[in-house]
């Protein structure tokens, strides 16, 4: 329940946006993809994934479409909007700045 402790607050949005940058994906695939790419380090719980997806959709960063999935069932595919693309760029830049700064602080000591 709640937000996964292993995810830095607010980075889930960035991860989702990044994951669907190349092609639309459904919720399960997004979670799997994040898990896979992060080498099984980042576990996205449903309890935070779906609220985040719906929030991003309400905000207009991503849009959803119902389409037939690889299993032959209807699934909800999320894709980036133009505004979402820009948002991703901004958040990536922000993340880079932040992580570099944290890195500096941590390695300095």
């Amino acid at each position: 329940m709640g937000k996964p402790s292993d995810l830095v607050q607010g980075t889930l949005d960035l991860l989702i946006l990044k994951t669907i940058l190349l092609e639309p994906k459904h919720g399960w695939a997004i979670a799997k993809r994040i898990q896979q790419v992060s080498g099984e380090v980042l576990q996205v719980q449903q309890g935070s994934l779906y609220p985040a997806l719906h929030r991003l959709e309400q905000q207009g960063w991503i849009k959803a479409k119902w389409a037939e999935s690889e299993t032959g069932r209807q699934a909800k595919f999320y894709a980036l909007t133009a505004a979402g693309r820009k948002q991703l760029e901004a958040e990536t830049a922000n993340w880079n700045r932040l992580s570099a700064a944290i890195d500096l602080v941590v390695t300095e000591a």
Partner: protein, 887 residues
């Protein structure tokens, strides 16, 4: 185009919410099934795979809720749920809901009606070009005694206006208007009609920014004594001229003289009064020398401020001019100062203070209503303690609980608000018709802004009445209820204290309202009981004016007047008839300054003696039964060409001839023939207006023939005077068929008219006070009944242990009367302040009137005792066995 996406989402979420919820379920199920499939692929059995997936998935209902909470319109969904819930609880206790809603409807209705009037009268900008820059400018005398009589805003003399306009530069322009009453005679045998008119300077309409609906406005060349052009009001144009635009350019006859209609004013133009039927130019028909006077204060001046000049600056220029004029005319009543007033306030005149008083009374009533509903809600909160406690224990947040209870009070207030608005439609209509002289009464109606005000009231009263009970019923103490037995928790005690406090405040406010009502009523009764100084029973008055064109010399005027008196006196049933310019009780109207040749001249700068100016026929005093104190009445010999005579009132004799005999002395009047008048009689005092102090009056013989306008025929009859009006009008028509009579009023009506508003306001405040007394007693009863119910077992034990029934009765009575008495004390203290507020509208009544205070105290104590008696009696009759068994 992110906003478009958001907008689309907003619309989808609003209208396809159910579908979105179903899709969310699909989406989550899809996720779950993929998880199961993966688990199976990893080698689990069907059952294990499902169980593991579900375990990882967590609580699906919670997940759904969390996801949905990110949707737009989520607040709306929550609000709808609250409303549904609130409506259900309210409909379960119909009696409570009905009482609460009725109380709120009354309070909100009253407040909305009054706001409608206040807005139209005091707040609405007039429909003129840039009305914020318009200001009325009056003359202002520094003399304090003069100002205390309500003459703070004095009309402007025409020559003063002319000099202001010529010699100051702070205003874009200044315009003037004056009152006029014009006899409109028919062209083709229509009935003659005495119409209310105004005479405006040629630039008035351009200054206001008003374009005539038809034709044009005045030109400067037309604004002279010989100017004969007229602008019709839309009302007159439709009513008398059938709305035919061909009337523009034609001639009509005003006071027997031909005037050319140059235009028609727009329908919405009802300044300064909706009764005004037509406009002529300011100077039209005026004797040229009057326009040169600095002491004939009959003009109203409107000025438009220049955008780059402050009001203070512009006024100081006018003040400087006025002070120079004052110094140049030390012996004439020429004011030292000027005083500005906004157009709205100028139109509101005497209405402002009563409106403010009523507004305060309504605010009190609304607050009392809220307190009462709050009190009821607290009582209900007690009955619902268990429910709240259980819901709290199940995880409902305090904010959610408070929000839900507030929704209930909001529902009550909203339903009350709807009822109140419906009520206020009727109430506003009634008030505007019952309130005499309410400015722009025709334009007063409930509109969007008023609706907005009512909605704001609804929310405010919902908060006021709901917040306190909601907070008190969701405190931590409530949850202790679950641990304790069913009664006697700390929560209920603090709740009783809260109810008592609410009740105390309510009673205090009720006392204030009651005392205000009592003071106003007493003042009204005092007014009614005043002796006006003349006969008022069986006296009929009727106004008429002789057209100066036709009656162009005093002999003709006298002939008409004498013929009229002879004919009317000959009618059967008529006791006496007379003619005068103004009858007692009909207002101050004309006044004039004079000097006394027998007295050495007064010091320069000192105000000259001033008295009301009346013209009367010889029979005037006997008809109105005004007593002769010394000397003689006028006779038919006091007329044109005879020695000039005057009769004075006793106040004038006392004031200006102290310790002397006034008879035989003289008054010198500059504006009235610049001659000496010998005092031949002293008569009793009459009031020019009920509720105003007596003023000095001088009476001149009407048979001088030089007054033709604004005459009043006074007839005293043997029986009810109204049936005589038609025979008298017939007599007038037989002498001159073009002569209209106006204002057929009995003396009772004239005096009553000046009392109508007093009566209206005191009755309204009394109604509010009675209503709040009723609310307070219901509240008192409720609190005590609640208290008794709570202490049933305690009382049972007391009685079982031997307490006497009288003791129990006394105990409970005192318990209930305590908030009443504290509230009474607070209310009496506050009333002293409130009395100061309304002191200026009281007549012959002290702001702290012992009789009123005592009466209110007695009423409140009696009502409170009655309200408390029933529950206390029930407590004292308790059967101890029964009481203990209800444990």
């Amino acid at each position: 185009m992110r906003w478009m996406t958001q907008l689309r989402m907003g619309i989808v979420m609003l209208f396809a919410r159910r579908k979105a919820a179903a899709q969310l379920d699909d989406e989550l199920r899809d996720h779950l099934e993929r998880q199961i499939a993966e688990n199976r692929a990893a080698g689990m059995s069907a059952g294990d795979a499902r169980f593991a997936a579900l375990r990882e998935f967590g609580n699906p209902a919670l997940l759904r809720e969390q996801t949905q909470s990110t949707w737009t319109w989520n607040w709306l969904e929550l609000a709808m749920r609250d409303v549904r819930c609130g409506a259900r609880t309210l409909s379960r206790s119909r009696g409570f809901s009905f009482v609460a809603i009725a109380v709120m409807a009354l309070c909100i209705g009253a407040a909305t009606s009054l706001f409608t009037i206040v807005r139209s009268v005091l707040l609405r900008p007039l429909p003129f070009r840039n009305p914020a820059r318009l200001v009325m400018v009056y003359e202002h005398f520094r003399d304090a005694g003069f100002n205390s009589q309500g003459f703070n805003y004095n009309g402007v003399a025409p020559a003063d206006y002319r000099d202001w306009r010529a010699q100051t530069h702070g205003f874009e322009d200044m315009a003037a208007w004056r009152y006029a009453e014009i006899n409109l005679t028919g062209e083709r045998g229509e009935l003659p009609e005495l119409v209310e008119a105004r005479a405006g300077s040629w630039n008035l309409f351009s200054l206001l920014g008003v374009q005539p609906a038809l034709g044009r406005s005045f030109t400067e060349a037309e604004d002279r004594p010989s100017g004969a052009v007229v602008l019709l009001s839309w009302n007159l144009f439709e009513r008398r001229f059938g709305g035919e635009s061909a009337i523009v350019g034609k001639q009509i006859h005003l006071d027997g003289k031909p005037y050319t209609v140059i235009g028609v004013l727009p329908k919405w133009f009802i300044y300064p009064d909706a009764k005004v039927q037509l406009w002529v130019t300011f100077a039209s028909g005026m004797p040229p020398e009057i326009l040169e006077h600095h002491d004939y204060h009959f003009a109203r001046v409107i000025a438009r401020l220049r955008p780059d000049v402050s009001l203070a600056n512009a006024l100081s220029q006018v003040e400087a001019v006025q002070y120079r004029l004052h110094l140049r005319n030390l012996h004439a009543p020429v004011a030292e100062d000027v005083a500005p007033r906004t157009l709205n306030e100028d139109l509101a005149r005497d209405v402002k203070k009563p409106l403010v008083i009523l507004m305060c009374a309504v605010a009190c009533l609304l607050l009392i209503g809220c307190l009462n509903v709050a009190n009821l809600l607290v009582a209900r909160g007690a009955a619902r303690q268990k429910e709240v406690a259980i819901r709290g224990a199940l995880g409902a947040g305090r904010l959610t609980l408070i929000r839900e209870q507030l929704t209930e009070s909001l529902l009550i207030c909203a339903a009350g608000g709807v009822g109140g608005i419906l009520l206020s439609f009727a109430a506003t209509k009634w008030l505007t018709s019952a309130w005499k002289d309410l400015p722009s009464a025709e334009g007063i109606h409930v509109d969007g802004l008023v609706m907005g005000f009512a909605c704001a009231l609804v929310f405010l009263s919902a908060l006021l009445s709901g917040l306190l009970p909601a907070i008190s019923s969701t405190t931590k103490a409530v949850f202790a209820l679950l641990q304790a037995s069913s009664r006697g928790t700390a929560g209920s005690q603090s709740r009783t204290a809260l109810r008592k406090t609410l009740l105390t405040v309510e009673i205090a406010m009720t006392v204030v309202l009651l005392i205000a009502a009592g003071l106003l009523l007493k003042s009204f009764w005092r007014l009614r009981a005043t002796n006006i100084g003349c006969a008022i029973d069986n006296v009929l008055t009727m106004g008429y004016s002789l057209p100066s064109q036709k009656y162009d010399n005093p002999a003709k005027v006298d002939a008409f007047n004498e013929a009229l008196l002879d004919r009317v006196q000959a009618l059967p049933g008529v006791r006496a008839a007379a003619i005068g310019t103004v009858v007692p009780g009909a207002g101050a109207k004309d006044d004039a300054i004079f000097t006394i040749p027998e007295h050495p001249s007064t010091a320069p700068g000192a105000p000259l003696p001033d008295a009301l100016f009346r013209m009367v026929s010889p029979s005037y005093f006997s008809t109105l039964q005004i007593p002769l104190l010394s000397g003689r009445f006028f006779t038919s010999q006091d007329r044109t060409g005879r020695p000039r005579t005057v009769i004075v009132s006793s106040v004038l004799a006392r004031q200006y001839f102290p310790g002397e005999i006034a008879l035989g002395k003289h008054l010198h009047l500059v504006p009235y023939g610049n001659a000496d008048y010998e005092i031949v009689g002293v008569v009793g005092d009459t009031l020019h207006q009920v509720g105003q102090p007596e003023m000095a009056v001088m009476y001149f013989p009407v048979l001088n023939g030089d007054e033709t306008r604004g005459m009043t025929l006074v007839v005293r009859t043997a029986s009810d005077p109204l049936p005589f009006s038609v025979p008298i009008q017939k007599q007038i028509a037989q002498i001159d068929s073009e002569m209209p009579a106006s204002d057929l009023l009995t003396m009772q009506q004239i005096i009553g008219d000046s009392l109508v508003n007093q009566s209206l306001i005191s009755t309204l405040v009394l109604a509010f006070a009675v209503l709040s007394l009723l609310l307070a007693s219901v509240g008192l009863y409720g609190v005590l009944a609640y208290l008794v119910a709570q202490r049933t077992s305690e009382i049972g034990i007391r009685i079982a242990l031997g307490a006497q029934r009288e003791q129990v009765l006394r105990l409970m009575l005192l318990d209930g009367l305590q908030p009443a008495l504290i509230g009474l004390g607070l209310g009496l203290a506050a009333s002293v302040g409130a009395g100061q507020l309304i002191r200026s509208v009281l007549y012959g009544t002290q702001a702290v009137d012992p009789v009123v205070f005592a009466a209110v105290t007695a009423t409140l104590v009696v009502v409170a005792a009655i309200a408390c008696l029933a529950p206390a009696w029930r407590a004292s009759r308790l059967d101890p066995m029964q009481a203990l068994r209800t444990e």
